[in-house]
């Protein structure tokens, strides 16, 4: 049986919850959330540390608390949701196919869809780390789930590869649960995690951060017995003379996140090869009209408050589309191009002259400088920064006036220029 629903939200994590509420508040009452896990809240449920919500709620919350605030908002609006529900297919005419143990196969015919499936972690195989394949090699997120939700200790002597935030958080978490966290190795000359986490997770707990260092071999037949680490040269190639054996029973990997866009690819939504997410306009509409995306499925965020902010935009966009105010002109509009030191920009293009914000990341750590938005060579908007790092998302607000000028421009470039 096919059910007609105005807007289906795929994913009940922070992105999906915020999008659902925004869609509802914009006047669409027929919103439905589909969540694959047994609870709403997504990955926040296992992020039990504090540090969330300072921007959105103006107070510091833990992950589950942040999630609960949004779950309460969903409940308040009586927005229906289904948990234990996996969406397996979506179609360009906006049918959503999913399975649920109580309902069996469910098919929704929607007017608009919000993609909010989140991301997954890069794994050992993505990096082709050589060595044996014993038990004890885990993504940091898997270890986080085991510790925080299953009450299980993944190991006692831990080496962490990659200084992403989850890795840093897990370094402290495992240390606090009695593990010997020997080191965090980072192949780059800088950490990709937030500076505050370097302080409160590593320095506070005396865990060394080894920059320009990677794991070159994993040892142990059944369970990890140790890893070989090595310094890398400026091309990130390991230097053999610097090899060092570190005994351990666990290797955690925190080496990056990848947006989970298998559903999006299934209907050939245009993707941004840099973000790994769909290309979107300022309403977060993808190349398929009526399909919107927000949160980590769109691009990996550093903090959840930005996810909520972005998801409100997507939720509103999805509502407007339902109410026939949808912007069909997804192929038109003006492209925003990353220039000097800018790795990517979301949205990738603007289709209407409206005030909005551009979100972007720099490609390498930068000292003081200016973010400059130029249209056909003319500087339209700018912002100073004291420092910028790839691990942190930057924002540049655009006024209505600037947006109007952009719409008629041919070549729009955003760059981060370091002061000389």
């Amino acid at each position: 049986m096919i059910r007609n629903i105005d807007t289906v939200i795929i994913g009940g994590g922070p992105a999906g919850l915020a999008a659902a509420c925004a869609c509802y508040d914009a006047g669409v009452r027929d919103v439905y959330i589909l969540e694959r896990d047994e609870n709403l809240g997504g990955i926040l449920q296992q992020c039990i540390h504090n540090g969330f919500g300072l921007q959105w709620f103006k107070e510091e919350l833990t992950g589950p608390e942040y999630a609960q605030r949004f779950i309460d908002e969903v409940e308040k609006r009586s927005i229906p949701y289904m948990v234990n529900t996996m969406v397996l297919e979506i179609t360009p005419d906006k049918k959503v196919y999913c399975v649920n143990p109580d309902e069996g196969v469910c098919i929704f015919q929607c007017k608009s869809i919000v993609l909010a499936m989140g991301c997954r972690e890069r794994v050992r195989g993505n990096l082709k780390i050589p060595g044996m394949r014993p038990a004890g090699v885990y993504s940091a997120g898997l270890a986080q789930r085991l510790v925080n939700l299953e009450g299980a200790m993944p190991g006692k002597e831990v080496v962490i590869l990659g200084s992403g935030d989850i890795g840093l958080i897990m370094a402290r978490r495992m240390k606090w649960e009695g593990a010997d966290v020997k080191m965090v190795c980072e192949i780059m000359p800088y950490s990709s995690g937030l500076a505050r986490n370097i302080q409160q997770c590593l320095r506070d707990n005396g865990i060394p951060l080894k920059l320009n260092t990677t794991v070159v071999a994993i040892h142990g037949k059944q369970r990890v017995e140790g890893v070989t680490i090595a310094k890398v040269d400026e091309n990130r190639k390991p230097i053999p003379e610097t090899q060092e054996y570190v005994p351990c029973d666990t290797l955690l990997l925190s080496v990056g996140l990848l947006p989970e866009n298998e559903l999006s690819r299934g209907i050939n939504i245009q993707m941004d090869p840099v973000t790994g997410g769909p290309k979107v306009d300022e309403n977060r509409q993808t190349s398929v009209p009526g399909i919107f995306a927000c949160g980590n499925v769109l691009h990996v965020h550093d903090i959840v408050d930005f996810v909520s902010k972005e998801s409100v935009i997507a939720g509103k966009g999805a509502a407007a589309y339902c109410q026939n105010r949808g912007t069909e002109a997804v192929s038109g509009g003006v492209s925003l191009n990353p220039g000097e030191n800018v790795r990517y920009i979301v949205p990738q293009k603007l289709v209407q002259a409206e005030a909005c914000s551009l979100y972007f990341r720099v490609g390498s750590p930068l000292g003081a400088g200016r973010i400059i938005l130029r249209a056909d060579g003319e500087e339209l908007a700018a912002k100073r920064f004291i420092r910028a790092v790839p691990g942190e998302m930057e924002e540049l607000p655009i006024s209505l006036e600037v947006a109007e000028k952009l719409m008629s421009a041919k070549d729009v470039v955003l760059s981060a220029e370091v002061s000389r």
């Binding site: 039990i48 540390h49 919350l61």
Partner: protein
């Protein structure tokens, strides 16, 4: 002394120095940063988060935190107090699980709703 402010994701790099019995902080972008710098040099504090086993609830674990930051040196005592803790569902966010943990004056509170199963 070089510090990284941990109060928000911005992570400002602070300089904090003791001058004539006063802590002078620079590099902060907000007043909270100044206060952090002063505290960090005189009596550093941290919020502790952890999880404890929960009986007859939906899920095996309850996530908890100290309802206010505790002295950094008391963290091991707080963790030790949590190690023995087992709680019973139902629990709601904000419920006090353990009052005045390890004599810090802070309470351990639940950060998740755990309904009974």
């Amino acid at each position: 002394m070089e510090l990284i402010c941990i109060l928000c994701p911005r992570g400002c790099h602070l300089q904090a120095e003791l001058r004539d019995g006063q802590v002078v902080v620079s590099g902060n972008s907000c007043p909270r940063g100044e206060r952090y710098g002063q505290e960090e040099l005189t009596h550093p504090v941290r919020t502790v988060t952890s999880s404890v086993y929960v009986a007859n609830g939906k899920g095996k674990m309850l996530s908890v935190k100290t309802n206010r930051p505790v002295a950094k040196e008391s963290i091991p005592m707080v963790l030790e107090a949590l190690a023995d803790l087992q709680v019973a569902a139902p629990i709601r966010v904000g419920d006090v699980i353990l009052g005045d943990v390890a004599g810090t004056g802070a309470d351990i509170v639940a950060t998740r709703n755990v309904p009974i199963v």
